[in-house]
Assembly symmetry: C2
Homo-oligomer: 408 residues x 2
């Protein structure tokens, strides 16, 4: 008998029919012999409705009171889902965050879980009940209600799975798993049976927005097997787990798991900077101070004692970064500042890279064969990213997907 | 500096504008030098909306889960009202029932308050904050969420006032106080400055539905001065307090405080019953067993060894009571069973009756002068009730109101 934590998000419980559908699904898991703990979000739309009410009350709504207000959303869902389960002959009981309790720090609106006491839940599970827990919420040691921030229900589910030592944490979403790339760009994209936590983190941060990064980190830290499934469509989804679990069938493990890409990229260049120690900090320090996140960085040393810096930021940050750079350029006596927001980033992700060479060269060769110019290159242990012109995005992803036989 | 508990019901917090209006009113009380604790209900309509959702989930919704569901209603209100107060520069903090905590027994949907711990509230009040408490809800010692039943926010307010040893408990409603009678029947009806708990209980149970009976009983038990006020209209409302508080100006205290009446009355008669010991029980026992509440009872002894029984019930209960009576009549060999649902009950209420005679005779004289026939009479220490024909209701109430100079 396996103990499973299942998480259903706002869309999955968005109306009466959806909640009934979830109840049927949970009841099925139980009838298959599993012990089930469910974490749910507020019904979709509810958070926006409550936020709108708050904004009519207070120009900058109190974060403490906002947490009191928003946590009613999941409280409604846990009660309704418990009722729907009982109606299906499946004993069920609801718990709010404070009832569990899920203890957090006191940072309202983005609290962090400090401790989950699994005792009450496990006692109910042992009695044959499904325990329906409110996601996204917790309580401080002083008894104040907190929220984990938007989308925090994933984190609740993973933290519950860790605390209860569950066999698996299943995240039900509107997609049926993690794909080799975006099927809207490559119709042949295939669902991955499994990926490692590290791969998932690279894929998620690069735009495959299936899971919250934080919950994947959490799952990785506590070694909780995580499965992404569709709440609408049957299927095994994608299992996210440690690399160890791949050892058995390493031969079958593909070199590359997936291709992520991001259109929200802009490039800034500061050219002809006198090449002295500390110049990188003088350029990038003020950018960071303005809370602009820098992604890739390249420095080209010139022959004339000057150097060129190129780095990428989100498109929204390009203008403010450009203004800061112009000030710096004057200060440092740099030649020119340029910006370009017609670039994209493509990343190939795979733990197989660790032990296999030649992936980068295959990637570059494939792009060259398609006349796609690489503007920047960045690598990590399990990822190679390139920056290219936006119009080449589709062709690049499609040809790489084919070259690495991800459709096989 | 007075400590006041103010209660606002669902209509008073029914939308954004109403909540803002309540916030302005509470802030005014604070600016007048009072310490204020507020108890609020769910926004009107919210309970019905949630109940409808529950009914779609489960044919007979679980009472435990129903309490989890419904208590979100007040939780939304406390957060919004706290925000609105803060926006007015009035420091405020919200507490749910479990946060106070308001400890109840574990009878879901109609729990009784066992204990209120006032410590947290008083600490916040001492810091100059308005504390906004969710009405209608509590928590068991096991940490389960409970509700006090519909309209239970009045009880929360009175219980809070008792626990905090508040100077006054103010119940804001859609009427501006307790009247000498229904102003729709007697336009000259006057608002009472004060009534005693006992009078209020008689007036409330007889149809002047301003306050929950239970909260008046509670206030009486703990000697909490209770004031009924309008949340829309300025004015001192009606103070409900002990008889002791009237002693000082007993001379001014009217004999009669008010005239209550009820149209929901039906009369049943069983005639020609052999007059033997135990016959009253034989007749009324089966009626009570059928959960039919009997109000007034009269027994007339006949000359022929037979007796007639007359009693009143709610109009809804007349048919079932009639059927039961017919069975009994056959059994006992009674002559006839009659019913009449065109009757009403009028009750004159006043603690002054205790020390003054002649009130009943003035009442009967007034009715006689207006050709109104009295069918039944019942009295308590502070009340005289008569049953008359429904068509005479308005004339009777108007003429009694005038005869006892209640409009003066």
């Amino acid at each position: 008998m396996a103990l499973i934590v299942q998480k259903f998000g706002g869309t999955s419980v968005g109306n009466v029919e959806r909640i009934q559908h979830v109840a049927t699904q949970v009841a099925k898991s139980v009838s298959e012999g599993n012990q089930v703990v469910v974490a749910v979000s507020a019904m979709s739309g509810e958070t926006n409705r409550l936020t709108a009410l708050a904004q009519e009350m207070q120009s900058r709504p109190s974060k403490r009171e906002m947490d009191v207000l928003l946590t009613t959303g999941e409280q409604v869902t846990i009660a309704l889902l418990s009722m729907a389960l009982q109606e299906r002959g499946c004993p069920a009981i609801s718990y709010t965050g404070w009832q569990v309790p899920i203890t957090t720090d006191n940072v309202h609106s983005k609290a962090r879980i400090e401790k989950i006491d699994g005792e009450k839940i496990l006692a109910q599970v042992a009695q044959g009940k499904v325990v329906v827990v409110a996601g996204f919420q917790g309580v401080t040691t002083d008894g104040d209600i907190t929220t984990l921030g938007r989308g925090g229900s994933d984190t609740t589910a993973v933290a519950l799975a860790a605390a209860l030592n569950a066999d698996e944490c299943q995240i039900y979403t509107d997609v049926d798993g993690v794909y080799t790339t975006d099927p809207r760009v490559v119709p042949e994209a295939k669902r991955l049976e499994r990926v490692t936590y590290d791969e998932m983190l690279e894929l998620a941060s690069l735009g495959a927005k299936v899971l919250q990064i934080r919950s994947v980190e959490f799952a990785s830290k506590y070694n909780v097997p995580l499965r992404v499934l569709s709440s609408m469509k049957e299927g095994g989804g994608t299992l996210i787990t440690t690399e160890d679990n791949f050892k058995d069938n390493d031969m079958e493990k593909p070199l590359i798991s997936g291709i992520a890409f991001s259109r929200d990229e802009a490039k800034l260049m500061i050219l002809g900077v006198p090449d002295k120690p500390g110049v990188a900090y003088q350029i990038l320090g003020p950018i960071s101070d303005a809370n602009i996140e820098i992604d890739m960085i390249i420095q080209n040393q010139g022959v004339d004692g000057n150097t060129d810096f190129t780095f990428t930021v989100s498109r929204n940050d390009m203008e403010p970064a450009f203004e800061i750079l112009e000030g710096i350029a004057t200060q440092l006596g740099a030649r020119e500042v340029l910006s370009d927001d017609t670039i994209v980033k493509i990343s190939m992700v795979g733990v197989g890279m660790k032990s296999h060479s030649g992936i980068a060269s295959t990637m570059f060769k494939t792009l060259a064969e398609n006349d796609i110019n690489i503007q920047m290159i960045g690598t990590t242990e399990i990822k190679i990213s390139v920056v290219i012109d936006e119009p080449s995005l589709e062709l690049a992803v499609q040809s790489l997907h084919e070259a690495f036989e991800l459709d096989k």
